[in-house]
Structures are given as structure tokens and as C-alpha cells.
């Protein structure tokens, strides 16, 4: 017994050493990242290039981003300089930089931006060939209505966005739905349009698979995962949801279907941002796709068509 007890101090000593040496505070060392130029520009044929320029911030910075007022921003086409962008201001007072030249399909455009004290950034992209959807047909018999608890009505309009031709690779697409609602008034016994709510954003629903493969973006479009088109899926089935109030003589009039074919730069950038948007605390965010050399942001092209469909209602 005595012999065995002689091991006890040794045992306790080992435990004590661990107790003293291992108890210490945890510190996190986040490497200092240099401030870089951020450029955001999505361009489409027939429109000018509009570039929003700002500066990146440390992640712990609680202030608003710095918008540099002196930016030397140039545009090149197929590697050759074509324009120097000028400063412009949007309706809400935002400073941005705009070109005089218009974007063209199938041509590589690039921008170079310089801000004093910062690394010069460079980005390039092109507008991809457009893959249109077949004309949208709305059958009156398919439209249904739900009465909401507040007395309004919800119009359910099935839409089929059918791609007649699917690209062999990079099936990168996005869409958006908008609608107009007329407000009628009775003029001499006849209901005529008094005024119109134009371009209202349209909610939609779909089957679970479709919903799970759609991503809301910080652009006014919804991104479609390229995996949606697997197994020769060619059609996006949506149910447009249009609320209106008969008591206020409202009447849904038309739906606008915007269909975009995206460049790889546009698609991958926004998909990576969407994937980091999960608020689940243990989920793995994805790294942000970045095609801006020595900076951040995105410079990418897309082609677009908008179809207006009158509601047979």
C-alpha cells in the first residue's frame, strides 16, 4: 500500500503542471488586409458602362464605405483604350462613373481604375450570346384567384419560361418578374384606367426543387443555379403571385418577364455571395469569386430581353 501511494504525488504533480501551464486566454489574430479599390459594373449591349467605385474596409469597421471622388477609370475594347469614364450622380445622389461608349455583344471589354495610394485594378469580361426563352403564353383557364384575409385577392398566374436552346456549357441565367396594376375609375358607366402602378415586383412560387435552386441577389434579378438545367430540364415553371384590391378598383394588367443570359463572371460572383449569405452560425461560407485583379468587386456582362405579357383577365 505504501509503495502504491508513492505514485500519488507523481500523478498529482503531472496534473498540476497541466493545470498551471494550459490555462490561458484565447486570442484571435486576424491579419491586416490592405485597403483596395472595389469596382462594381454589370453591362449589357446598348447601354453605357456604369461603374460604382468604393474602397474596401477592415471587417471590424463599423463606418460606411469610402467613396473616392478622384478616380481615373478607363475602358478598353479588345485590349485597346476607347474611353475615359466620367463622374456622374444617380437620382439618390450616388457617385458613379459612366462611359460614353455602349457595350456590344461578344466583345471583351476591360476597365482599369486608379486611385491615389491604391493599387491599380483591372478587370475584363464580355457579354455572352443570348439564349432567349420561348414567348410566354398565359392561358386564361390556368389563372386562379385566392381571397386573402384582409379582403384583397391574390392572382395566381402560371408561367412557363422555356429555353428552346440550352448552351452546351455554362447555362448561366437569371430572371425577374414585374407587373403593372391598373387602377380603374368609372367614367360614364365605363371603367377606364385612371392610373397605373408600373413595374411592381412580382412574387412567385414554384415547386421545392426549383425554389431551392433560385438565389435572390443584390441585383433586381433572381439567379438560376446551373444545376437546375440538369437531366435536360428546359422549362422554369413559376406561379406569379399578384395581389390586388378589388375594393380599390385595382386590376392586374400585364407581366414583364426579364430574361438574362449571364457571363461566367456575373454568375460565379453572385452565386458565391449568395452562398455566404446563410445566417446559420456553423455553415461554411464560400470564398467570394473575384475577377477584379488587385481589387474587389465585379465587372461582368450579360445580355437581356424583356417580354411583356398582357394578362387575359
Amino acid at each position: 500500500m505504501k509503495h502504491r501511494l508513492s505514485y500519488l504525488p507523481r500523478f498529482i504533480l503531472i496534473a498540476f503542471i497541466f493545470l498551471v501551464q494550459c490555462a490561458r486566454e484565447v486570442t484571435i489574430d486576424i491579419p491586416e488586409e490592405e485597403t483596395r479599390i472595389v469596382a462594381v459594373c454589370h453591362f449589357t449591349p446598348g447601354e453605357t458602362f456604369k461603374v460604382k467605385v468604393s474602397l474596401s474596409q477592415p471587417v471590424y469597421d463599423s463606418g460606411d464605405p469610402v467613396i473616392p471622388e478622384k478616380v481615373d477609370l478607363t475602358l478598353a475594347k479588345e485590349g485597346a483604350f476607347i474611353d475615359k469614364l466620367y463622374a456622374a450622380t444617380s437620382d439618390d445622389g450616388q457617385l458613379y462613373w459612366e462611359s460614353r461608349d455602349l457595350a456590344e455583344p461578344g466583345v471583351a471589354f476591360s476597365i482599369t481604375a486608379r486611385v491615389d495610394g491604391m493599387k491599380t485594378i483591372y478587370a475584363t469580361s464580355a457579354v455572352p450570346p443570348h439564349y432567349p426563352v420561348a414567348p410566354v403564353q398565359i392561358k386564361p383557364a390556368d389563372i386562379s384567384e385566392t381571397i386573402l384575409s384582409d379582403g384583397r385577392r391574390l392572382l395566381n398566374v402560371p408561367l412557363e419560361l422555356h429555353l428552346e436552346q440550352l448552351p452546351e456549357k455554362n447555362p448561366f441565367f437569371a430572371f425577374s418578374l414585374k407587373h403593372d396594376v391598373d387602377v380603374l375609375q368609372n367614367v360614364g358607366g365605363e371603367w377606364v384606367t385612371d392610373y397605373t402602378y408600373e413595374g411592381l415586383p412580382t412574387n412567385y412560387s414554384a415547386d421545392g426543387r426549383t425554389l431551392s435552386l433560385l438565389y435572390d441577389l443584390s441585383e433586381p434579378v433572381v439567379l438560376i443555379s446551373d444545376k437546375f438545367w440538369s437531366e435536360d430540364h428546359r422549362t422554369l415553371y413559376l406561379d406569379a403571385k399578384i395581389p390586388y384590391d378589388p375594393a380599390k378598383h385595382e386590376k392586374p394588367r400585364r407581366i414583364y418577364v426579364e430574361w438574362r443570359t449571364l457571363s461566367e463572371e456575373f454568375y460565379r460572383y453572385h452565386l458565391s455571395i449568395a452562398r455566404q449569405g446563410s445566417t446559420l452560425p456553423l455553415s461554411d461560407p464560400d470564398a467570394v469569386y473575384n475577377n477584379v485583379q488587385d481589387g474587389y468587386g465585379n465587372f461582368s456582362g450579360y445580355s437581356v430581353e424583356v417580354e411583356m405579357v398582357e394578362l387575359p383577365f
Binding site: 503531472i14 472595389v38 471590424y60 412560387s205 446559420l280 470564398a287
Partner: protein
């Protein structure tokens, strides 16, 4: 001696006379010819000659010296031979056909010798008091060194021995060695009964494979010692098999168990965890803090980190094979234990003495006081809410019935689950009034497992086991949301009132039959086949509007998912052939092949998977081995977190989601020297088509569960690799025992859809992983245990920079965090110290056991998750969440 013979139940009826010496009879010497040639063709006649006489005659005729013992032919009848132009071997064969002899021709010499007779000693090894069959007990012949075997999963053994006298040694950890003197003159079937050590059993906290080194120098599996299971300090004093398994090198777990077990860089869903031969889909309670295996029920547990035998299939990385106890065939017992978090009670006894027995065990928890305690600590993950509650429970039932000496039926059943409820309110006030949103969440999940097995000893060296299995894992979550508004004028209104039900399950029905054949004392052959019918429901959500007419558009989309109540069926068939050959005393070769098919939606997958391992045992305890195996996996667990939480979904391989594939090569060397042993093993593991789940943008989160709609299109397929070296040092005998398990490894993943297609560290990649276990026996009734674990911090994806995305003219903007690299940062290192004192003593017929200790003794706040505060204004300021701070460990057990 008399007692021992009775105990051994080996009575031998027929005694034979021992042959003490050989008498060589020289038949004839023909002195003239110095070098006689054996004639090629011999004419030989002999009518009704005794064989001995015939041999003498042949010797004289052919001038070939023929040496033999005339006792070889004492029981032979006379032979008549009339041969023309016959060869010498043909004549020798003809003459000696009646006797069990063989001969050797060397020039003009022929020497006859007796063929060694082999007999089979087979049967069961069991506990003398309870009748419990002992798995993995070693049985060997001390007089015929190198001949030995171990009992199989049902305590059966079969050993081929030369006829004659043998000293048989039977050994098993925690039991006294049994030495049996045996005279073997025919095949014997016997039940060998062993007596447990009455003293405090030797605790071997092993990082080395536990085995009888005289039988197998190094086992490919680790036998998880149940004695150390009860001695190790655990949170709350709750003994936990999986936590003990994690003390092995090469095994990583999430922080404090949450996040599953990762073997050599594999995913948590790649572990085949078997409870009485039935796959378990959710092996843990409390998100991984505790395992579902009630220690009172466990009889034997083994683990393979790779190179597992071909009889195990369906998972890619590891096997944990857990067998439950049979119950006492002779006496009734009760065992109760009370810990800080849980209490258990088990009852066992005979239904019919020596013929059938039962064992029932239950366990439940009382977490609420602890939840209240932790809720007051802001830096810990807590169950937030005004009315939060959590508990888990287990129920195990085991019945078995001895039909005959050669037939036995077993029935095993497990039912256990977790319950979590939480209710909390969120209130918003403005000029119009007060809005109150009330969330009520009720979640429950668990396993249902059953097995009916029939053991049959077909012959002295052929054993069969046939099993019908059922396994189900389910998760269900109900979320009720109620939003009311109290207007400034005192009126109230209901804004929303609906319920959400989320359900997912996997359910298997299967049948299998296995055979074990012992053709020689150098070989064991196993083969078998199985069929499993899988039934999956990856996740269904239903919405119930409690207020008629409630259909806000935000919720309406949920209602559509009612159509996605997807249910999938799949057929899986498997066959295997496994062989272990010991060509010499120092070599052992294990080889096998596992073939399987998986059929789903008119798509079939097939796999033929080789397994191979060679071991060489050298002198002075040295052992070297090399192994290679391939595995495939048709079932996968996917979810928002990809950390094997219970609400993550079990899904099958489909035409879009191919099976995962893994191959591994390992190479090792070890040495056992007296009380000490060490081994080093290096491995390289390749994971192809490994899966991860891509979180949806608008995930429907119901208590953590995610809508599974379109899951096949949200799975990313990639590849991974893991390589490293594992060092184990162990002292297994004496009053101070312990082990050191160190792993140096690197694991990464690459997915085309993640991290821009670049390789990134696996979530549980840890360069260094060290576990030290010490056991000090202070007195015969008292011991102390210490565990210290250290690991490199887990990788984490953090952003150092952010910016604002906003297109010109666009109102929408978003703060973008620049995660430059997935898992590019490291959390601080994980380490903790656990200490416990264990006491066991007996008072009359009652056994008492105490454990008193502390988990995480120096209160290390190991980071479970780190959240960078993006608006703090201070560099590096983060909110760290810790799961388990310092926790007392207390358990009291009483056995009647």
C-alpha cells in the same frame, strides 16, 4: 485439478496408448552393391502378406532400404499384390494404403513415418457465472506453439490440433487464464467456462490494438476496453464508448464531440457503426456530447480505422462493431447508476435457467437544471428561450434462448431519442402598438433498432449466423408561429398563426447470413451475403394555417413544398469472401473481396472491393504490416452544416449523386516489449466523389433542419485526401498504465463548386493531435485516471475585409465579406485535462462503484465557433462560443 476438469467440461472417454519410441527395423542389407539404383519397373507378387512382410519382401527384391515401425501396420489386414512393371511409389502406396502413414524416398532409402492426425476442438467460451459468451477470447495450445485462435462475435471458436496431449491456454481481459490439459483423440465440441477476476480489473487504456500477442502480434482492429470505459473521466461522469474510441490516434472529433467522429480524414457519415450487427444512423445524443450506447449494455466493442475485413461494407472510412451483453443465465441482477446528467437502471436474469436470459436497460437524463445554469453564462452556447428543455433517453432489450448446444437465438432491441423544446417571444413596438411574435419549437429524433439472430454450428469447423435486421432513424420538428398585435387603442389582432411540420427518416429492413469456416489451423474463411431494403424520406415540410384564410405570400411558397413529400426506395445487396491465412508462425495474410450492388430509380451501381493486409511478426516482439483497401458508400448524410447533426439528411446515391469511393494504403511497424508497446503507422487515404451540401439561399430553417427539396442538385461532388502518421505508446501492465496517442496528419478537400475549385483544408484537419491517458492504481479498490488531449485548432472560414456591393442606380446593396479562402484560418488550439478517481468495493453481495472527477479541469474555453464582430470597431474582436467548460464528473453505481 478435479475442479478444473469439471469447470472445463472436457471429459475424455477413450484413452490410447502413447507411442514412446520408434523401432526401426532394417529389413535387409545387400552388401555387394555400393550404390544400388531404384528400378523403374518392378514385377512384384505377394499373396495375403501382412504389410510389414510385404515391405521386407519388396526391399529384398529391389535392394532398396525401407525403414518403418511395424506398429504402423499393426491394425492392417494382409494385402495381395500382383504387379507388373509397377513403379516403387505405386507399390509402396498399395502396401501402406491401410495405415495412416506417409513415406519419403531418398536415393535408395525409403523412410516411413506416421501421418500426424488432426482433430478439431471447437465450441464456445463463456463466463462461468453468467453464461455470457466471450467475444475475442484467445485460445491456444501451449504445447504446439503458434496454433491458436480467438472466439468470434458469438464466442465460438474452432481449433485444429494434432492428436495427443495438449496444454490449452484460454485468456481474456478481465478473466483468469484457464489452463486445460487435454488428450485429443477425436474431434471435440466443448464449452469452456472462464472465471472473471474478482479484483479491480486491470485497466488498459489502450492506444495500441489490444490482443493476445501470442495469437496475433498486431490486430487490425482496436478492442475497446470496457474496463477503461467506466474508469475514464467523462462529462458528468457519464461513461461514453465513442469518447473512449476517440482516444485512439487517427480519430478526430468535433469540439467536445459535436461534429461527429472523423477517422483519418473521413466524413462523419463514413463510419459504419453497428449495434449487434445493425447499422446505427445516429450514434449520439445531445448533438454528439454523448453516445447512444448505454455502457451497461455493451459487452464488446471493436474498431477498425482502415483495412477492415471484407465482411464490413457500406461505409468508406471506419467500422465500430458493438455487441451487447446476453444477460445472466443463472442469477438475477440489477445495476443502477446515478450521474450528474443521467441515470440508468438495468435488470437481467434467466428466463429459464441455463436456457434463456433477458437484459433490459434504460437511461434518461435531467438536463434542465444545467440548461438554466448555462443560460446565465453569456459566453457559452445556451438553449435560449423562456421555456427551453432538453432530454434524451435509451431503452435496450436483449433476449436470448439456447435451442441446443449448436443453436441459439438472440433478439436485440434499441429505442432511444432526444427531445428538445423551446419557446420564445420577440416583441416590436412602434407608435401603432406592440407586435408579439411567439415561436414554439418541438423537435425529437432518435433510432429504432432491432435484430433477430440465429447462431448455428453447422459442423466442427463451420459456424453460421443468420440475422434479420431493422434500423430506423427519424427526425421531426414542429414549429408554431403566432404573431399578434396590440393596438394603441387596446384592441388586439392576429397577424399570423401557422404551424410547420418537418419530417425526415431513413428506414432499413435487411437480412443477412454469414459463415465462418476453419479449414485448417492456419486459415479462417468467412463468407456471406445480405440484402437491404432502404426507405428514405429526405425531408418533407407541411404547413398548417391555423387561421382560416391566412395565406400571406411569403408562406404560400411553403405550401407548395407539400408536393415534395419525396419518398425513395433502394435495394442494396452485398456478398463477401474473407480469408485469413497464417502460412507460418510469423506471417499472416488477410485478404478478401466485398461485392455490392445498389439499385435505385432504374439505375444500378456495382462495386467489387478488394481488401488486403499482410503482417509479419518478427523476433523480440517486432511486427510489420502493410494493408490496402477500397470502400464504396451508397448512403450519405447531407445538411446545412455538414457536421453530421441529427437533422442532417440521410440520402441515397442516385443517378445524379454517385457513390463515394475511398481507398487507403497503410504501413506500420510496432514492438511489444514486456510492459511496453509502441507502434507507428503511416497511411495515405484518397476520397473520390466525396459529397458536401450547398446551402440554399432561402433555406427553410425549422429548428436547424433544411428543406430537402432538390437536394440532388444541391450536392457538390469533390475529392479529398488524407495522409499522416500515427504513433502509439502504451504501458499495459503494472499499477501505472497508460498510453500516448499522437497523430500528425493533413486532410484536404477540393470541390469544383466551392472555393473557386481550389483545394482547401478539411473542416476537421488538424496537424497535431495528442491524447495522453494515465491510470494509476492506488489501492486494490481505488484508482485515478487522467486524460489530457491537445489538438491543433480547427480550420475556420473568416473574413478580414468587407466591402459594399451596389450597382449604380440600384437600390439593392449588400455587405460582402471577403472570405479569401475556405477554412483559411485556424481556431485556437484545443486542449483539456480530465481527472477522475474511481473506487470500487463490495459489501456482502452488493458491489459499489464511485467516480468523482472533473472534466476540462482547468476550464479551458475551447472555441466551438468563432464569430467576428463586424461592427465592433476593434481589430480581431470576436465572439467565441464554448461548449463544455469545467464540469464535474460524478457517478455512483450499485450492482446487486
Amino acid at each position: 485439478m478435479q475442479r478444473k476438469r469439471l469447470n472445463l467440461h472436457l471429459r475424455f472417454q477413450n484413452m490410447v496408448i502413447r507411442v514412446k519410441a520408434f523401432f526401426f527395423v532394417i529389413c535387409c542389407f545387400l552388401a555387394v552393391c555400393a550404390a544400388a539404383q531404384v528400378p523403374a519397373a518392378i514385377d512384384f507378387e505377394c499373396n495375403a502378406c501382412p504389410p510389414a512382410e510385404a515391405l521386407v519382401k519388396l526391399s529384398l527384391q529391389t535392394k532398396v532400404n525401407i525403414a518403418f515401425n511395424d506398429r504402423f501396420f499393426s491394425r492392417c489386414s494382409p494385402v495381395t499384390i500382383q504387379a507388373r512393371g509397377a513403379s516403387l511409389p505405386a507399390l509402396l502406396d498399395q502396401i501402406s494404403a491401410c495405415a495412416k502413414v506417409s513415406y519419403k524416398i531418398d536415393g535408395d532409402q525409403v523412410i516411413f513415418f506416421r501421418k500426424a492426425l488432426k482433430y478439431t476442438l471447437s465450441g464456445y467460451i463463456q463466463d462461468i457465472e453468467t453464461g455470457e459468451r466471450l467475444i475475442g477470447a484467445g485460445i491456444r495450445s501451449a504445447s504446439d506453439k503458434g496454433v491458436g485462435t480467438v472466439s468470434n462475435e458469438f464466442g465460438f471458436f474452432s481449433l485444429k490440433l494434432d492428436d495427443g496431449e495438449h496444454k490449452i491456454v484460454v485468456s481474456f481481459i478481465g478473466y483468469r487464464n484457464e489452463n486445460i490439459n487435454l488428450l485429443l483423440t477425436s474431434d471435440r465440441f466443448a464449452t469452456i467456462k472462464m472465471r472473471a477476476n474478482s479484483e479491480l480489473p486491470e485497466v488498459v487504456i489502450s492506444a495500441l490494438p489490444a490482443s493476445d500477442s501470442r495469437l496475433h502480434s498486431v490486430e487490425t482492429q482496436n478492442n475497446l476496453s470496457l474496463n477503461s470505459l467506466n474508469a475514464l473521466p467523462m462529462p458528468g461522469g457519464e461513461a461514453d464508448l465513442m469518447r473512449m474510441a476517440a482516444l485512439q490516434p487517427g480519430i478526430q472529433t468535433g469540439v467536445d464531440g459535436v461534429g461527429g467522429m472523423h477517422v483519418r480524414g473521413g466524413n462523419a457519415d463514413q463510419n459504419l457503426i453497428l449495434l449487434d450487427d445493425v447499422p446505427v444512423y445516429n450514434p449520439s445524443h445531445a448533438l454528439g456530447l454523448f453516445s447512444i450506447f448505454n455502457p451497461d449494455m455493451v459487452s464488446h466493442a471493436r474498431m477498425w480505422k482502415g483495412d477492415f475485413p471484407a465482411r464490413y461494407g457500406g461505409r468508406a472510412s471506419s467500422v465500430v462493431d458493438i455487441r451487447t451483453r446476453d444477460g445472466d443465465f443463472r442469477q438475477y441482477h440489477a445495476n443502477a447508476s446515478v450521474g450528474l446528467f443521467a441515470s440508468s437502471l438495468s435488470v437481467e436474469g434467466p428466463l429459464r435457467r441455463d436456457r434463456s436470459a433477458f437484459l433490459v436497460a434504460g437511461r434518461t437524463t435531467y438536463f434542465e437544471p444545467w440548461i438554466d445554469f448555462f443560460s446565465k453564462r453569456g459566453n457559452l452556447i445556451t438553449f435560449s428561450g423562456d421555456n427551453a428543455g432538453y432530454r434524451f433517453y435509451d431503452l435496450n432489450v436483449k433476449l436470448n434462448y439456447v435451442l441446443s448446444d449448436r443453436d441459439r437465438l438472440y433478439f436485440s432491441y434499441y429505442y432511444g431519442g432526444d427531445l428538445f423544446q423551446n419557446q420564445f417571444d420577440q416583441r416590436y413596438t412602434d407608435d401603432a402598438g406592440l407586435q408579439t411574435d411567439r415561436y414554439t419549437l418541438n423537435s425529437n429524433w432518435g433510432n429504432n433498432i432491432a435484430a433477430l439472430r440465429w447462431n448455428h454450428v453447422v459442423s466442427k469447423n463451420l459456424f453460421s449466423n443468420t440475422t434479420i435486421r431493422y434500423s430506423q432513424f427519424y427526425y421531426q420538428s414542429q414549429l408554431a408561429f403566432n404573431s399578434t398585435f396590440l393596438y394603441a387603442n387596446g384592441k388586439t389582432g392576429t397577424l399570423a398563426d401557422y404551424g410547420l411540420l418537418y419530417q425526415t427518416f431513413i428506414r432499413d429492413w435487411s437480412g443477412k447470413t454469414d459463415f465462418t469456416y476453419y479449414p485448417t489451423d492456419q486459415a479462417t474463411v468467412r463468407w456471406g451475403l445480405s440484402y437491404t431494403l432502404h426507405d428514405f424520406r429526405p425531408g418533407a415540410i407541411s404547413v398548417n394555417f391555423l387561421q382560416p384564410g391566412q395565406s400571406p405570400t411569403a408562406i404560400d411558397s411553403l405550401a407548395n413544398i407539400l408536393d415534395n413529400n419525396e419518398q425513395l426506395g433502394a435495394d442494396e445487396a452485398e456478398a463477401y469472401f474473407d480469408m485469413e491465412i497464417r502460412p507460418s508462425k510469423n506471417w499472416r495474410v488477410e485478404m478478401g473481396v466485398n461485392g455490392s450492388t445498389f439499385q435505385i430509380r432504374n439505375t444500378g451501381y456495382r462495386a467489387l472491393l478488394p481488401r488486403f493486409r499482410v503482417l509479419r511478426s518478427g523476433p523480440r516482439g517486432w511486427t510489420q504490416w502493410v494493408g490496402y483497401h477500397r470502400n464504396t458508400q451508397y448512403l450519405h448524410q447531407i445538411g446545412s452544416f455538414n457536421i453530421s447533426l441529427p437533422f442532417e439528411l440521410w440520402v441515397p446515391s442516385t443517378p445524379k449523386v454517385p457513390p463515394e469511393q475511398v481507398w487507403q494504403l497503410s504501413l506500420g511497424i510496432g514492438k511489444q516489449h514486456r510492459k511496453w508497446g509502441w507502434q507507428v503507422e503511416g497511411y495515405y487515404k484518397r476520397l473520390d466523389r466525396v459529397l458536401t451540401f450547398l446551402t440554399s439561399n432561402d433555406a427553410l430553417v425549422t429548428g436547424g433542419a433544411e428543406d430537402a427539396s432538390g437536394w440532388e442538385d444541391r450536392v457538390a461532388t469533390g475529392e479529398g485526401r488524407s495522409y499522416g502518421a500515427e504513433l502509439s505508446i502504451e504501458k499495459s501492465f503494472g499499477s501505472t498504465t497508460g498510453s500516448i496517442a499522437y497523430t500528425l496528419s493533413k486532410t484536404d478537400r477540393r470541390f469544383p463548386d466551392i472555393n473557386s475549385g481550389e483545394t482547401f483544408p478539411f473542416r476537421y484537419d488538424r496537424l497535431h493531435d495528442l491524447k495522453i491517458s494515465l491510470h494509476q492504481r492506488i489501492a486494490s479498490w481505488l484508482s485515478a485516471d487522467l486524460v489530457w488531449a491537445y489538438a491543433t485548432g480547427n480550420p475556420i472560414t473568416l473574413a478580414g475585409v468587407k466591402y459594399t456591393h451596389q450597382s449604380p442606380g440600384n437600390d439593392l446593396k449588400r455587405e460582402v465579406y471577403v472570405f479569401t479562402e475556405v477554412n483559411g484560418y485556424r481556431l485556437p488550439a484545443y486542449h483539456r485535462l480530465d481527472v477522475a478517481f474511481n473506487a470500487r468495493f463490495t459489501s456482502g453481495r452488493v458491489r459499489h462503484g464511485f467516480q468523482l472527477g472533473v472534466y476540462n479541469a482547468y476550464n479551458r474555453y475551447n472555441p466551438f465557433y468563432l464569430y467576428l464582430d463586424g461592427r465592433s470597431g476593434e481589430k480581431g474582436k470576436a465572439i467565441q462560443y464554448t461548449l463544455l467548460p469545467i464540469l464535474p464528473a460524478f457517478r455512483y453505481e450499485i450492482k446487486l
